[in-house]
Symmetry: C2
Subunit: 372 residues, 2 copies
Amino acid sequence: MKASLLRIAACLIGAGLTVVAQTNRPAPLQSPVIHPDRTVTFSVRAPNARKVELSAQFLAANQALTLDTNGVWSITVGPVEPNLYPYNFVIDGIGVADSANADLFPNERFKQSLVDIPGATPSLHSIQDVPHGTLTYAFYPSKTLGRTRPLIVYTPPGYHRGTEDHPVLYLVSGTTDTEETWFKVGRANFILDNLIAQKRAVPMVVVMPYGNMMRGTPPPTSLQAAEMYRVFNDELTLDILPYVEANYRVSRDREQRAIAGFSRGGGQSLFTGFNNLDQFAWIGSYSAYLTPEVFDKYFAAVAADSNATNRKLKLLWLGVGRTDFLYKQAVEFDEYLKGKSIAHLSLVTDGGHTWMNARHYLAETLQLYFRK
Amino acid sequence: MKASLLRIAACLIGAGLTVVAQTNRPAPLQSPVIHPDRTVTFSVRAPNARKVELSAQFLAANQALTLDTNGVWSITVGPVEPNLYPYNFVIDGIGVADSANADLFPNERFKQSLVDIPGATPSLHSIQDVPHGTLTYAFYPSKTLGRTRPLIVYTPPGYHRGTEDHPVLYLVSGTTDTEETWFKVGRANFILDNLIAQKRAVPMVVVMPYGNMMRGTPPPTSLQAAEMYRVFNDELTLDILPYVEANYRVSRDREQRAIAGFSRGGGQSLFTGFNNLDQFAWIGSYSAYLTPEVFDKYFAAVAADSNATNRKLKLLWLGVGRTDFLYKQAVEFDEYLKGKSIAHLSLVTDGGHTWMNARHYLAETLQLYFRK
């Protein structure tokens, strides 16, 4: 088996054995290899495969790889527009992460790798020579779910030497993502490091929960989804928020609290935000929406007194991509809010339901939160 | 493509669409499923595959899965001895992580999943109802390597409320592992949470660096490997140690500093420890060794004055498994140290070059470090 062979070979070599042990080992594949012209070569060893394709979020359709005489399939694509993209191989119909690439997309289901195409200037999500915040993996007791759950907390540069409270953003990832996805794919920490260094965002704490409340089959209707959002609402307000406030220097002022999320996490952020306007003054919806029937059922009072709602909300921000499969629903939600005279900002971008857009929306809103 | 379909379907559902969108979606697979008798069912959807096997570190050999009429391959194995094991599927010869399982083995090369088989009593690496330490992802400037590098730091329960300095263990992972492997596979944090709660270990800070200094083809001889170890030695002592001491409350007393590691990380720990006996009083080698030629070349003075060495070393600890492919070399190293009258403790266990053993050795030594 390839993985075991590689592992044993790497152990042998790593432990300092002689050249004899190494000669039977194929040289480690490098993949992806990003060329200066932003073309990229992807390779995978699969001597027994009948068909290998590349699936990547910068491609309109899967591309077939070519097999060489050593059992290695490869393809060169591009030039690729600078960004950080998920991709995977499709080997005889099975989606497979790139075994030569340690950068994985954390997810409950699919296994994808990440490739970061640099541009002429450093991207906002890249590690730059600026002060870095840190990320804490913490474990808190969830009374709502009856178990210990993981949480990632970004604290800004200098946090550990300071004494002041910081504003706090609760940032929720999507669908089958984990608490790690806003860190590993969203690069929320590096984006914020860079924006803070450029004085384009205020130093803040960012809390990234494990937002998925679904077990097995997800709820099929928007009202049932809203009930799942309500479980998240309880988890966030009764378990996560008290834990964070007991263990981190974060403000308890509602005007210093924001909640935002991508996809399912955006729906949860809208639900939790509107449900707790006494606790959150900033709400961000990245590629998400609530249906009118959910809003009417749960937030009739919010809609009925839009003046009071607008006084409470420092910002309600909605972003969606023109080719997002949720575009129509997001626009309907936007229109619904307009009809109810609930003030909000909207951004429509190119692109679809992707983490490239999620990062874009995060970067836009990080420059707005806690600014007025 | 399966991953994309799943993702889009999950997005649709998570965003609250109607039942129509869901009917075309297969129910999400649950894998692995651990049964009360400790048998385990592994499943993977691969309708086009010709052969699917399970590779798992609790199996002596790969086992073939069976295809059902829905394109799902599955197998039930066991009962399995309680422990946390790496495993993967082998689909037409390709090692593939379990797409239904979010627990991945962080590694530069192979992609494996993790399955945790619980026993009658909670395992030492499990999340228990005890105070939890936190893990920090930090980013430090490496002058040695000329770039910013990641680091994970465990701080014990109560650390953030305290003011005292703690003893510190530098814990290095193996081969092509990353800075995450001692956390995600080694579960160093939960083992230490539990040992501290049971008063079997002293509260300590644990620093987990990205130990792999190899680029491309690894060094083929033990002397060349030692030169690679020397780069790690510089990185650890000139970059990591100053960063940690500037940013965490750790003792600067050599008797409050330990270094240990698994496999290649064990070799690096032995090298760095012996190279800096003025800075480290505790050294742990988990499934590793140095060759006599390396020891003779670099540490002749350490061997020549064994009395001085023994006065400095509070503990030199060596562990290896009887079926470890490095067993012979580890025993030779043990004999070499005996021949030089360098005091040490040895533990030989069942099993091989595995993370089950790495965790075992960590748990043993965490009860010894900083104890006298």
